[in-house]
Symmetry: C2
């Protein structure tokens, strides 16, 4: 069953600070008509991810900015409705960066066919997709956790943090999570098997973190910045590794935080303890995509890795849900269900 119109959410204005409703606009267009050698796809699940906040800015980053009045960028899982292509046929389920909209056409480039037998297809947005690969490749190439070491990761109930900690456990580490509510912390220790999880909103968080890391911290997975990093810094051990894959605490900032300037303190710790700090994005390790997917899919099958999705119905809710994501309101991988999943 298809609709008559293609709902699209476009970037209406570049946000000042936190995005607000008016920075987005829902427009209705005709369902696009695929040409020769093209396919028409219908979005089933849209991924919402923190990196999208950066794309809303004009400033150059590792990827181009989104353009005003253009459809918001984003990865999605879709069903092929019609196709004039050798590699895709109606009923296929595909992943592509097809954006915040109901329908899209493509010549197939950039679309990847999914195997519904491997795992629910929505996992292509989370544990078996970009967030999962971020966790896997960042740990393998930069964090390099070793048996007996202690790893700390923030946003520990989210799609990246939850896999980071579970891989650390598989590698024989002590895994300590940081999350934004008691409920999330209970999930991180109870369901995911982390050794401890601290609520960064609690009074005395720095002291609690120190108590949870009696042997110091060997790997700090940086995906939030801000107060968590400040609490971690004095606990870092000699030769600690800090993969930097996100700074969600700063994404909405309009000016630098007040002083003192703690760069000297940071660099002194880097020097004294010979710390490695390295930024990366997942596509720096694109050649490890197959290895990642095979390995993590195996861990999911074996029950060694669990994941959680926070699925909200309705494309029209994406702007509001995205605003909440930047404030940590999601609990698990944030997904918008745009249309019913025919594989379930």
């Amino acid at each position: 069953m298809t609709q008559d119109t293609n709902r699209q959410i476009v970037l209406a204005a570049r946000p000042e600070g936190a995005p607000k409703d008016g920075d987005f606009r829902l427009v209705e267009a005709a369902v696009p008509e695929p040409g020769a050698g093209e396919m028409l796809c219908r979005t089933l699940y849209l991924s919402l991810d923190p990196y999208m906040r950066g794309r809303m800015n004009a400033a150059k980053s590792y990827a181009a900015s989104a353009e005003i009045d253009q459809v918001m960028v984003g990865g999605a899982v879709s069903e092929v409705l019609r196709a004039d292509l050798a590699d895709f046929k109606p009923g296929d389920i595909v992943f592509a960066y097809s954006g915040w909209q109901d329908y899209w056409t493509s010549d197939g480039r950039g679309a990847r066919k999914l195997d519904p037998a491997l795992a629910p297809v929505s996992t292509a947005l989370g544990v078996l997709g970009m967030p999962g690969m971020t966790a896997y490749t960042g740990l393998r190439n930069i964090g390099q956790p070793k048996e007996g070491e202690t790893l700390v990761v923030a946003a520990a109930s989210g799609p990246v943090g939850s896999l980071v900690g579970q891989i650390a456990k598989i590698e024989g580490c002590r895994a300590v999570g940081v999350a934004g509510s008691a409920e999330k912390c209970a999930y991180v220790t109870g369901e995911l098997g982390f050794d401890a999880c601290l609520n960064h909103r609690d009074q005395g968080f720095p002291e609690a973190l120190a108590a949870a890391c009696p042997g110091g911290i060997d790997v700090y997975w940086e995906n939030v910045g801000g107060a968590v990093f400040q609490a971690v810094l004095p606990l870092l051990n000699p030769f600690a590794r800090v993969p930097v894959c996100g700074l969600i605490a700063h994404y909405n900032a309009t000016e630098p935080p007040p002083g003192p300037n703690q760069v000297p303190q940071l660099m002194r710790a880097v020097l004294s303890n010979r710390i490695l700090v390295r930024g990366f994005i997942v596509w720096d390790f694109a050649d490890q995509e197959d290895e990642f997917r095979d390995t993590v899919a195996g861990w999911i099958r074996d029950g060694r890795v669990k994941y959680r999705e926070d699925i909200v119905e309705g494309l029209e809710n994406a702007p509001r849900v995205f605003q909440g994501l930047l404030q940590g309101r999601n609990f698990g991988k944030q997904v918008i269900r745009v249309a019913p999943d025919p594989t379930l």
Copy 2:
């Protein structure tokens, strides 16, 4: 010719901020008597290095603190006067961390015999010693300059910075130095062959640095911190490497600098440009010592590497000269000549 007494400079007090005369005390002791299986040595050259400032603090760092009323730590080149040892005989020239004093005894452990035919023995404190090895191993293992890249190094006329830039030139890079006077900059470009050198005390230094690095910066060798790092940060290219071996601009700081807090800005650059920042000390690469010395000695013989020493006469002047070193008053590797060099 030997004196009757052993002059020693001891740590009198832990400095608050910049060290002052009263933080040191010159004491006179008897010349020590070597026992069976020991040797007596006379200091010829004492090395003064920025790292010594850290040792004067009580705070833990990568090495133990100096102790109050104990002889100041430091590397030195000495002559063996008497010896009851198989490996050392009178007249041998040795390097050891024997401290700020005229005479010392040892069972030979920690002493390394020097070859006066290889190079002047004072170079064991500079280009062929710890500073040179810092430059060589930090570049080889962390900076990894590649042909056509741009490297920036501060304290460019000093023993570490001058070798960092010359190795970068050997590797086919553009080498841009930063130094603290027009005279030093003229030496860095004229004698050492850097492509450019900027005086960080000049008005418009950040703009001049940007103009000297039209292709951005691929390797920034961090040995100073402060304003130089702030000017470098926006110029760093994707996948830039930042070996951190010193932060001399901060060593005398008693409190963090005023805000804003620029840690978020730094981490954002690290993330967006996938920058690697890694602290190290030379002994992390102790297994590369022979390779370093063979390689750099060869470059000196071939005229591909030049070095400069700033030699001041008299052990009694070490405290004053050390205070100047922390303010950049040295011009080349800072050495105190404690006694005449018999190899010259």
